[in-house]
Symmetry: C2
Subunit: 552 residues, 2 copies
Amino acid sequence: MGNTEALRHQRQNYQPQLPPVLQDIEGACLRANAEAPPTTPLPEHFPSTQGLPHLQVAALEGCSASKAPRVGVVLSGGQAAGGHNVIIGLHDALLRRHGCVNLIGFLGGPSGILDNEVVELNADVIAPYRNQGGFDMIGSGRTKIESPEQFAAAKKTVEALQLDGLVVIGGDDSNTNAALLAEYFKAHNTPCAVVGIPKTIDGDLKTEDVEISFGFDTACRTFSEIIGNIARDALSAKKYTHFIKLMGRSASHIALECALQTHANVTLIGEELARNKATLRDVTKQIADVIAARADAGKNYGIVLIPEGIIEFLPETKLLISELNALLAKESKSFDALATPEDKAAFVVKNLSEEAASCFKAIPQRIQQQLLLDRDPHGNVQVSKIETERLFIASVTEELAKRKKERTFSGKFNAQPHFLGYEGRSALPTNFDANYCYSLGFIAALLVEQEATGYIAAIRNLAGPVDEWQPAAVPLASLIHMETRKGKEKPVIKKAMVELEGPAFKHFATQRNQWEVNDAYTFPGPIQFFGPQDVTDQVPFSLALEQTTPVV
Amino acid sequence: MGNTEALRHQRQNYQPQLPPVLQDIEGACLRANAEAPPTTPLPEHFPSTQGLPHLQVAALEGCSASKAPRVGVVLSGGQAAGGHNVIIGLHDALLRRHGCVNLIGFLGGPSGILDNEVVELNADVIAPYRNQGGFDMIGSGRTKIESPEQFAAAKKTVEALQLDGLVVIGGDDSNTNAALLAEYFKAHNTPCAVVGIPKTIDGDLKTEDVEISFGFDTACRTFSEIIGNIARDALSAKKYTHFIKLMGRSASHIALECALQTHANVTLIGEELARNKATLRDVTKQIADVIAARADAGKNYGIVLIPEGIIEFLPETKLLISELNALLAKESKSFDALATPEDKAAFVVKNLSEEAASCFKAIPQRIQQQLLLDRDPHGNVQVSKIETERLFIASVTEELAKRKKERTFSGKFNAQPHFLGYEGRSALPTNFDANYCYSLGFIAALLVEQEATGYIAAIRNLAGPVDEWQPAAVPLASLIHMETRKGKEKPVIKKAMVELEGPAFKHFATQRNQWEVNDAYTFPGPIQFFGPQDVTDQVPFSLALEQTTPVV
């Protein structure tokens, strides 16, 4: 019989590439980057960790390793390809610098820190996970360390384990957590360096110094493989318009990258729709216009990409959701007592503001019911569960039927909904993610050993060849701003949205008209691990555009 | 910026492998296979093409090409990876045997034959499609050539084009069509050889001689990549049970193959459920039992694979659908006049037989409404559109809630629905499909040139290395049986169902218990085109089992 393990074994033997200063990890050290002056926007929140310098990894005369640190590592939040390689990079760097490794993994995410649930990560334990997808080596979780009790529990655990360092692999919230934990440990004289690693397929943990989060490349390449396959199918069968929702939380980075990789006919970008104060009706019209133009060209098929977070960007749906949450919390008893879905819908319409009610009425019945019935344990509408791909299929169907009556549309419209998310989070990491993550692990090992707490590991010039990558570290506190979260002002790392003035979006904006009616699809195919370098060692298109195209 | 076209260009340069007798196509010929005596089960339907011998491709002394034939080719039905390579194999074989090529493609499927819509397929036209997915070179369609007028129109077209051969690339129905067209042409002295090619991702066009249809391998490998990714995500997040419906029409070949490739926790096999006369309740219980056993082991996550055709296999849902179709056809006026979905549901329950009504009531409301509202233009329930993945999520949710009340289940159950289909039909063909299809094209060229009408091209020993493949041709009429279709007896090629006594299912049956609670997932990863041969040149597991395992 065939061997599904063949590729896994091959990838276990892949030796990730490292930039030169990390190849010589035995002689590497950290030095302050004189060109980047220390900044801490909110010093009052970081009395003990403010004003830290930006760091670079360098090979300096006389650099050598100090005492071997004891390190704990935790995976936090949703899966992203490459997480295992961060841990393995950490392991290998410690081994090479110190000849021994004291590394433990916290099980099941940050709750493993609170409950002191750990596993020792030695060479045998980590071996099967080299260059593999998923977070299954130690699991992940979504617990946040926020309350004073939780901070104290974390302190207790790292002291009990005598950890010199804690590496937090996570997204924006987890890195905010890492910043606060670093401050807390420092303020309480707990000598444990807290280091963050930028992880998330969503691509929204991104600053001038943190060029991209890991996992984004693999997820987008996997989604683009699938979108390309679907596009080729649409082009062959000439029968369906596929509405493909893409995971990625609020920001539309994934949708933008997949558009660049596949040239879908329509790609919605939430940030642009928000800027334009677009309504559901506007978006429906925008999609319907392309479908009608394609039908005029004899093309009754197409591809529409919809970012998961779209609903939070349209002012009217945003308003509707916030009013619904308030209403259903206040009137839950009378609402729950209503017998039929129709009664519930009527109740809602009666009690919402005129604007929200009109938005609600514009939503197809099936989605209305989803809004009213699929609520979370707190009674809130579950935004991520709203099937926007089906919402737009319904609204576009209605719009095209209207146009058919008015004789302004004479094509055929058959739609298929898709949602891509879990397909791409735990895939085998691309070479880019495998190399990037392994290098991040190396940087983290240096930071911990050098007691550099409150930093996030980073690499500059990621769109270039690995030989030209510049390993660095950025003070976490320098990324923190105040934001309103659930009605409260909080110090957090800002989620990076698609920059409408940035080169990636601008490139997309100049190209997309040509993708609407022409069949300009490209079919990227599956991620390759062997063969010519232009096939195996690609970088995200948006990253390449950001680093090579001058902003006009 | 990155180059999504890199892999496409690399694959265009791939030279498909051919078995030895086809490598030497200039010296190849066809000979009758003395070991396989001619059989025509329904000679009355094939007066002119009965009793044809089975053929083998051989290198015989003194073999040489006769006059260069004019050939037409058509793609029929749903996409399957490798279709382009059949056409290109045909082209290359004609070129090598005759030094020139007279090849035309019918556009948009069999309707292209009826309407004489063609394109000349020369070297320039076909070049971009070498080893590429999709059917977009000439398109496909689902028109059937059935009526006397259609047969006459087909005759008129091939005569107008002076075709010596017509190659029909299609599934069971299209090959039935090819058999009847061969008979019709022969009976009417139209000197055009009709040759079939076994295409379908579903794997249900399969006989002793036609070991597998092309496209099955690529589709199953693509689906298994995705299922493996989702399984790794489930194993990491430990939060969701994924219900994955797999395209594949009635038969469960794709589900079985994907189970063998990924070791999902539960895989439903329609043929087995039918044999066991399973009810919806039984299947719900079967899934819930595994989920409960996993929960007892602390595993609140999992993977359930559901073949698309399941609903046609369960006696009660089969009955329900047939009664619903009859009822809604007869009572459409009174039904349509009912105002609310609740009224419609009540109407249906009142008018169905007790058994069908009880099955209807057991179906979750949302799916009930789908059954009643999403009907085709003839008013029939659209079986393929029934979201069985959501149906079972709803029924299992209900069942587990009941068990929770009874304190026999204390786990957590969160489900995610998926449907895989369009993702795998038009993918870049695997080496297996690329080689197989290119070889089938070579065989078709020989058949047409040698005026061997009424044959389907085939290759024996496909699980072995290409060097040991045995190119052959099987009389289409030998595959034809009588079957009831839409109430009428018709001569058709029988759809091959999963053989419950065959080695692939038997192997699955011995293994699946170990896959239920253990996390025995394998993660096949994306299809690879470069690198070690055990990674690039796999064959379908079920095929390998059929050819290497003795049937116990």
